[in-house]
């Protein structure tokens, strides 16, 4: 047994489940995470899964964190090693003094263990083989048996798990009983044969409050329902598919007209992403709120249409759940690497509005806001989610909606206005904000119709190849982009308690890891002002924030420092001032990484500034 002292931690540790894809582990692992939540202790789970349906390794990592640190921590305190294929690699990840939980039905040579960890063997296969004859049941219930075993080892309340199972199988009493039975088989074995609890423990707390636990894709879909989307056209692609599917299931519940039984929504699974965006463009042109869900490769295919929507000024909402690129890249891993390809999507001079949700709650808010902004600005709006937010359940504040809120349909000229003789020029800037009026097709018998095209046109939508007409339009589009600055969600700025020459800019799914990193850095006497970007175009407050600091770290999950490039490009800032902090191996960024990288960067800037006088000495 181990020479290292066992890790002792209450409500602050990481459990990782190493499973085989398709073995039914997902629901058992979720049950484990939720039971801890129900004990009032925040958890932050993450799926680390392959591009595969059955057979390849998959992991589920649960960070138990009473302090509420929802970013990935890194390191594993307890490994539940259920996959022989990854045994060696999984064992390596365990922190010294950590724990290994495994199925000891078959003997494993001592050489395949580590001597600095604590090993807990439970004969899961034996238990299940004795209890069940059906091979599928033997496999499925093995997962519940280990949840039972872990609950005793970690002191998780049995009643809480039983209640969760009861909720899950409300309508299937047979499954309810058999799941509870399997849970108890695991519990009883540990109670009889293994010292318990171990050094890692869950203790009832009151740190979850009224927060909710959901996936960003689900939340974005719900935001689209609340925001009034009626048309969803999409093409299946990981990690965005579950967003369109969630939209479907919410619509089936909340969008069927009570009087007629007919659908107040249309969902088309298109033949490809080009058709998806084409349908969204057609629907937006015709006055319906429409969106598509996709990921990087889909954006690549959509770019010609995105340029058309920009040029012809058509409301479009695109939910981009980013994954690792380029090309097929890492389809089941997370990155924030589509920033530039979305910000400047399509040929010619283009710029697009991007929103950066930090968690499922903002996925909900930004999806609804995007539909309003698309109508208001008559242009494509991107909701830049990612796999980490989109496909993992995340603890966040309850979703909110203002009962008095109605949809902002933007500048749409009505039949009455046309009839009264109000001047209509489809591309005429009447209000000085760069946003013209539009009409929905079919509005008026004699007025307000126009021809939409991606070609140059004059302010009255007439075909034109004249330079001045072209310039009028593209300059107006710039003005409109400037107007967008004040309409998009504004950045969140947080000042350190002490004045500091250092600032950090971050966005999206980096948020929880960043929050934790700031705590660590400040306790280490390295105060940092921060700015969380919530949208592009960047409001002026972003430029002010940068100018107020000597160095600004730009924390991103991509290789090429894409947001930093955008900042340099849009504000004309000296690149030396913006220090990239980059994490892009496909795993979610951690507080440990950010803290270490920023500390190192601060040290480097100190060295640089000491050198500077020497350089400048004549």
């Amino acid at each position: 047994m181990s020479m290292n002292p066992a890790i002792e931690a209450i409500n602050d540790f990481v459990v990782k489940f190493a499973n085989v894809n398709g073995s039914g582990s997902a629901s058992a692992n979720e049950l484990f995470a939720k039971s801890i939540l129900r004990m009032g202790v925040p958890v932050s789970p993450r799926n680390i899964f392959p591009s595969n349906i059955q057979g390849l390794p998959t992991w589920y990592e649960v960070r138990v964190t009473e302090a509420g640190h929802l970013g990935r921590r890194g390191g594993v305190d307890l490994m539940v090693a259920m996959n022989p294929q990854t045994w060696a690699a999984d064992l390596k990840e365990i922190e010294p003094g950590g724990y290994l939980f495994y199925d000891n039905s078959k003997p494993i040579p001592a050489s395949r263990f580590r001597d600095d960890i604590h090993v807990i063997g439970v004969p899961l296969t034996e238990i299940c083989n004795a209890a069940y004859t059906d091979p599928r049941q033997r496999q499925l219930f093995k997962n519940i048996v280990y949840v039972g075993a872990l609950s005793v080892l970690l002191d998780i309340e049995c009643a809480v798990i039983e209640k969760l199972i009861a909720e899950q199988y409300k309508s299937k009493p047979k499954l309810l009983d058999s799941n509870v039975q399997a849970l108890h088989m695991g519990r009883e074995y540990v109670q009889k044969h293994i010292p318990h609890p171990i050094g890692l423990r869950v203790r009832r707390a009151d740190k979850v409050g009224n927060r909710i636990f959901l996936e960003g894709n689900n939340a974005a879909a719900l935001g689209a329902v609340y925001g009034g989307a009626t048309v969803c056209a999409w093409y299946p692609i990981t990690p965005s598919s579950s967003c369109a599917e969630a939209f479907q299931s919410y619509c089936m519940k909340y969008r069927v007209d009570a009087e007629t039984g007919k659908n107040m929504y249309a969902i088309v699974q298109a033949e490809d992403e080009i058709a998806s965006i084409g349908m969204v463009v057609g629907a937006g042109w015709n006055g319906a709120r429409a969106f598509t869900t996709t990921s990087g490769p889909g954006i690549s295919l959509m770019t010609e249409f995105i340029g058309l929507a920009y040029m012809a000024e058509i409301p479009v909402t695109i939910i981009n759940v980013q994954r690792g690129g380029p090309s097929t890249g890492m389809p089941t891993r997370t990155q924030q690497a589509d920033i530039l390809s979305c910000a400047y999507a399509s040929h010619g001079d283009t710029k697009h509005v991007l929103l950066f949700p930090e968690d499922p709650k903002e996925c909900f808010e930004h999806a609804a806001a995007a539909l309003d902004l698309a109508d208001r600005l008559q242009t494509p709006i991107f909701v830049m989610s990612d796999l980490d937010i989109g496909m993992n359940q995340r603890l966040c504040d309850p979703l909110e909606w203002d009962a008095s809120r109605s949809f902002d349909r933007g500048k749409v000229m009505t039949a009455e206005e046309l009839e009264s003789g109000k001047e209509f020029g489809r591309y005429l800037d009447v209000d000085g904000d760069g946003i013209p009026y539009r009409t929905y097709p079919g509005t008026h018998a004699g007025k307000g119709s126009f021809f939409t095209r991606g070609t140059t046109k004059n302010a009255y939508a007439g075909y034109s190849e004249q330079g001045p007409d072209y310039l009028y339009n593209v300059h107006r589009l710039l003005k409109k982009f400037d107007t967008a600055k004040n309409l998009v969600p504004q950045p969140v700025i947080r000042k350190a308690e002490k004045p500091t020459p250092f600032g950090a800019i971050y966005f999206g799914s980096t948020s929880p890891a960043m929050a934790e990193a700031i705590e660590v850095l400040e306790s280490d006497n390295q105060p940092l002002d921060t700015l969380r970007l919530r949208a592009f175009p960047f409001p002026d407050s972003v430029a002010s924030f940068i100018s107020e600091h000597e160095f600004v770290f730009v924390v991103e999950q991509n290789r090429d420092a894409q947001v930093r490039s955008l900042l340099v490009n849009e504000f004309g800032i000296d690149p030396a001032k913006l220090v990239p902090i980059l994490h892009y191996d496909g795993t979610p960024i951690t507080a440990r990484f950010i803290g270490q990288a920023i500390s190192a960067a601060i040290a480097a800037t100190h060295r640089c500034s000491q050198k500077l006088p020497e350089v400048s000495t004549p």
């Binding site: 939540l37 009224n210 909710i212 636990f213 329902v225 609340y226 009034g228 009626t230 048309v231 056209a233 909340y254 969008r255 007629t260 039984g261 007919k262 659908n263 107040m264 249309a266 969902i267 088309v268 298109a270 033949e271 080009i274 058709a275 998806s276 084409g278 349908m279 969204v280 463009v281 057609g282 629907a283 937006g284 042109w285 015709n286 006055g287 319906a288 429409a290 010609e304 249409f305 058309l308 309850p398 979703l399 909606w401 009962a403 109605s406 949809f407 009409t439 929905y440 097709p441 079919g442 509005t443 008026h444 018998a445 004699g446 119709s449 021809f451 939409t452 095209r453 991606g454 075909y463």
Partner: protein
């Protein structure tokens, strides 16, 4: 093209239809296509058909892709909203537009390059989905706007103006549409207005995906000997299977025809397509037979025209997905937003 502006004044003798419009109200800007272009004849046929059908011009949405044919929506129905979309992608835009507002008449205009080459994927899927529309391919077998390259409908062995022989087999849009489930399939010739106008009217009356392949010679690049899309070739090889009339409501057949020569097909809107058979063995309500017939005659070098297939019982995309009768763009937040009560329940279910 002509540089002569059309006089704005309406001649008092121009008759008004039931929608209180004269033919002139269905016209658009002056065409910028070449003099003699088949596409202009098709535009004229669309104008004629819409006027005769008493269509309200502003209740039409005309959409196109990119190319000579796709320019034409600017040249008819000037009071309709038009959309010149992306090359080969008009079908998806039309589909989305149709989803947003099912109350308008959707007219998709495309070419053989736009629909059979770059856009064949979208053509295929819009037919499968049964989008309620009139989809016209102005088929000249050639890329006109880029000066004379073969398109995917050019017949194998036909030659370009410069004498290059086309080695690839052609895509027959009509056979494709039949196979894909289009519920109204016709072929016509831009030089045969008598056949074309009633076919467009019938397509307008049809609910579901109506497809018209209109052979439309390109006078600049594909009207020479060696082309199978020239005026001369199509006139010589045109094999019309029927002639049709669209009548508002069913009237007694008064003209004396031999038994079996005239078939009435009632449409969803109550109008009737009266089919006068020119080929006694041709049955326009049998999809499989239509496919065989078209293929057999194509092998002989003939261009089969007429109403090739119609299913008047067909439903459209909205029926398939059970959407509400109201146009989506008229639904407000009261209808569409589930409200805070529901949101609280959802929140509660996520704890």
């Amino acid at each position: 093209m002509t540089y002569l502006a059309k006089p704005k004044l309406h001649h008092p003798s121009l008759t008004q239809n039931k929608a209180c419009h004269t033919r002139r109200d269905y016209e658009g800007r002056i065409s910028t296509l070449c003099a003699g272009c088949g596409h202009d004849s098709i535009s004229a046929a669309i104008i004629q058909a819409c006027w005769e059908m008493d269509v309200e011009p502003h209740r039409v949405a005309k959409l196109s892709g990119i190319g000579c044919s796709s320019k034409t929506p600017d040249y008819f129905l000037g009071n309709s909203h038009g959309f010149n979309t992306v090359h080969g992608r008009m079908p998806s835009v039309l589909t989305g537009a149709n989803l947003a507002n099912r109350e308008l008449l959707y007219l998709g205009v495309s070419g053989d390059g736009d629909s059979a080459s770059i856009g064949i994927g979208q053509f295929v899927h819009v037919m499968r989905r049964g989008v309620n529309m009139v989809y016209i391919v102005e088929n000249n077998g050639v890329y006109g706007l880029t000066k004379g390259q073969f398109s995917a409908t050019a017949d194998q062995g036909s030659t370009s103006k410069k004498g290059v022989v086309n080695a690839d087999s052609p895509i027959d849009m009509v056979s494709l549409a039949l196979q894909l489930g289009a519920t109204f399939v016709a072929r016509s010739f831009s030089g045969d207005k008598k056949q074309l106008v009633p076919l467009i009217k019938a397509a307008i009356a049809h609910r579901g995906a109506a497809f018209l392949d209109v052979i439309s010679p390109c006078v600049a690049f594909n009207n020479h000997p060696g082309s199978t899309k020239s005026y001369d070739y199509v006139r010589e090889h045109n094999e019309a299977v029927n002639r049709i009339d669209v009548i508002e409501t069913k009237q007694e057949i008064t003209v004396d025809f031999a038994e079996g020569e005239v078939v009435d097909v009632e449409q969803h809107d109550g109008s009737v397509i009266r089919l006068r058979k020119l080929k006694s063995d041709y049955d326009a309500t049998n999809r499989i037979a239509a496919m065989n017939y078209v293929q057999q005659h194509h092998a002989k070098g003939e261009v089969v025209t007429g109403l090739l297939y119609v299913d008047s019982e067909a439903g459209d995309m909205h029926e398939h997905i059970n959407t509400i009768d109201t146009a989506f763009n008229k639904l407000d937040s009261k209808k569409l937003c589930p409200g805070i009560g529901v949101l609280e329940k959802i929140n509660a279910s996520l704890r």
